[in-house]
């Protein structure tokens, strides 16, 4: 089940998505021991942020909604706390964001000093002003990609895209041409849930990001379209909660699968669970490696 992603060896294709645990060294180690192939850190920016007031998240029938508002200790403080990331049991992907191009660059530079295996650039938070700026503009996304690449040396860079866009192919193409080494697809999709008793949105931020099962068909579609467009690997993220979901992502063209909300549904055992289910599916279908099925949904279309 091991895979290679941008030259990084992963024991299996499951990667903890950004924003779910993944906030401390010990939480990364814990998830590594529980079977995650890699862990993505919660997104960090140049400043310390409290995020939104509570309630910031809940699970409704069919999915999950969060409006956490990117809380975080900020890159400086994280640098002091983490010291380095390459001495942990599994590869760590550092996630960053900024409000301006310069900030994307400088935060990326500081993140690279921690020696993560990869840097993921979050240009797509569904409930933040900055996300609305970068997430749907291929030219701006390309600028961010170039700025980050310029600052991180040899560390591979993945750009995290939003599903909230008409032409995700154009976005993918733009960031590939700008030098991205991978694409993470996708971030959460904006949504709202209203409480009937109090006649008000349940989230303090009103609008939040939909993740979990409700997001999966959207994510599969995005990965499918991106795979048709670019050569760089895709971390297929959105609604993966079972081995079959993961296989579906890989058939759409993903090299690895991001797993976020499934931690809510199944706890940190979820990585082992998904890997076991993938293996038993592969055995049943006499498939010896994931390479044999990666992107196969496309070939069948061509027949």
């Amino acid at each position: 089940m091991n895979i290679t992603l941008c030259g990084i060896r992963l024991q299996n294709p499951t990667i903890l998505a950004s924003g779910i645990l993944g906030v401390t060294k010990e939480s990364i180690d814990r998830l590594g021991k529980k079977g995650a192939g890699a862990v993505t850190l919660k997104s960090l920016c140049h400043e310390e942020r409290k995020g939104n007031p509570n309630p910031t998240m809940f699970a409704y029938p069919g999915g999950f909604l969060n409006g956490v508002g990117l809380p975080g200790q900020g890159i400086e403080s994280a640098c002091t706390e983490f010291e380095r990331l390459d001495d942990l049991s599994i590869p760590v992907i550092g996630s960053i964001f900024g409000y301006t191009l310069e900030q994307f660059g400088s935060v990326a530079k500081k993140m690279s000093s921690l020696k993560p295996a990869m840097i993921e650039v979050d240009i797509s938070c569904p409930h933040m002003d900055y996300g609305q700026v970068y997430d749907a503009d291929p030219a701006l996304a390309a600028k961010v990609t170039k700025e980050v690449k310029r600052n991180v040396g040899k560390i591979p860079v993945s750009i995290k895209l939003s599903p909230k866009i008409y032409d995700i192919k154009a976005m993918a193409k733009a960031v590939e041409e700008a030098g991205a080494d991978a694409i993470t697809a996708i971030n959460a999709y904006p949504g709202m849930v209203i409480d009937l008793e109090t006649c008000r949105p349940l989230l303090a931020s009103k609008i939040g990001g939909i993740s979990g099962p409700a997001l999966k068909p959207i994510a599969v579609k995005c990965v499918y379209e991106i795979y048709e467009t670019v050569k760089i690997p895709i971390i297929g993220t959105g609604g993966v909660t079972s081995g079959k979901d993961a296989i579906e992502m890989i058939m759409a063209g993903a090299t690895a699968v991001g797993i976020g909300t499934a931690v809510y549904y199944h706890g940190d055992e979820v990585f082992l669970k998904i890997c076991e289910e993938m293996e038993s599916w592969m055995k049943e279908h006499k498939i010896s490696s994931l390479d044999a099925i990666r992107g196969c949904a496309h070939q069948q279309q061509k027949k």
């Binding site: 779910i20 645990l21 993944g22 906030v23 401390t24 010990e26 939480s27 180690d29 814990r30 919660k42 310390e48 942020r49 409290k50 995020g51 007031p53 509570n54 309630p55 910031t56 998240m57 809940f58 699970a59 409704y60 029938p61 069919g62 999915g63 956490v68 809380p71 975080g72 200790q73 900020g74 403080s77 706390e81 849930v193 409480d195 008793e197 109090t198 008000r200 349940l202 303090a204 979990g212 099962p213 409700a214 909660t241 079972s242 079959k244 909300t261 499934a262 931690v263 809510y264 549904y265 199944h266 706890g267 940190d268 289910e277």
Partner: protein, 273 residues
């Protein structure tokens, strides 16, 4: 093998405050007339709920009363959220989700060491234990609550200023109890972390098992946000109740905590903000 995970939900359930009991100065219990989440399983002592005050915030509160048809939490007014709570009237509504977390295991004969509003977290535990010895301390007489509730229990009270009971700390009394009484099989504690740290150390010294309920900043309550991490433990789902054995391996216990942003600070700084 595959469970239908998308059926699992966690949405605040808006409930009407059935009655409010003023326990003491700035301390109120809010009662709701129904089971939690419509389930007929009583919550475990030590579990907590997330309380949503629409337009203000949502915070963790220990379940401090639990009977066949009622439950309550007891809030002490300290900051914006708890102050807003104290302005509520009977008939007002709050969103409740939970219960969350792992509670206390029941073992007799026991001694309960409670400090300040920490008594709320061990209240339903006291209800379930057989005649526990209670050591309860607050800063001064004004903060003492539940005295009527536990009038049939053996209670040793301390206040920092000596305005009620013995002048000093709960742990001073615990030392006396431990060195004289050999029949206690379990010690439970909840209160300021510095106090709990001392209690755990004493229990280790006297080789008596203990359990303590930890308090950390909480946002989700169900193990997703990572705000409540203490070393490799996720307080909201692995705890909030931990055994003394586990706690004595955690370097952050009694030393550091995390702010809302996730930045790690000393315990003292955590309680300042």
């Amino acid at each position: 093998m595959e469970t239908n995970c998308s059926c699992k939900t966690d949405v605040p359930r808006v409930m009407t405050i059935h009655r409010i009991l003023e326990e003491g100065k700035g301390q109120c219990s809010f009662f709701f007339k129904s089971f939690l989440n419509g389930s007929n399983k009583p919550p475990q002592p030590g579990q907590f709920v997330m309380v949503w005050l629409p337009g203000v915030d949502e915070k963790p509160m220990a379940i401090s009363y639990s009977t066949d048809n009622e439950f309550a939490f007891t809030a002490q007014s300290v900051g914006p959220f708890t102050q807003a709570l104290t302005r509520l009237k009977r008939g007002d509504r709050l969103g409740i989700r939970g219960p969350y977390g792992k509670g206390f295991t029941i073992k007799n004969p026991a001694c309960v060491v409670a400090g300040g509003v920490g008594i709320a977290s061990v209240a339903t535990l006291i209800d379930q234990l057989q005649d526990p010895l209670i050591i309860y301390g607050t800063r001064s007489k004004a903060q003492l609550i539940y005295l009527q509730r536990y009038k049939k229990q053996e209670m040793l009270i301390t206040t920092d200023d000596g305005s009620h009971g013995k002048k000093g700390f709960t742990t001073d009394v615990l030392v006396e109890v431990l060195s004289s009484n050999k029949t206690i099989k379990m010690i439970y504690t909840c209160g300021p972390e510095i106090m709990m740290k001392k209690v755990v150390a004493l229990c280790m010294q006297y080789m008596i098992p203990c359990e303590a309920s930890l308090e950390r900043y909480m946002s989700c309550g169900f193990g997703v946000c990572g705000k409540c991490m203490v070393n490799d433990k996720i307080t909201c789902i692995d705890g909030p109740v931990f055994s003394g054995k586990v706690l004595s391996t955690l370097s952050e216990f009694g030393a550091t905590a995390r702010l809302k942003s996730g930045r790690k600070v000393s315990l003292a700084e955590h309680h300042k903000v």
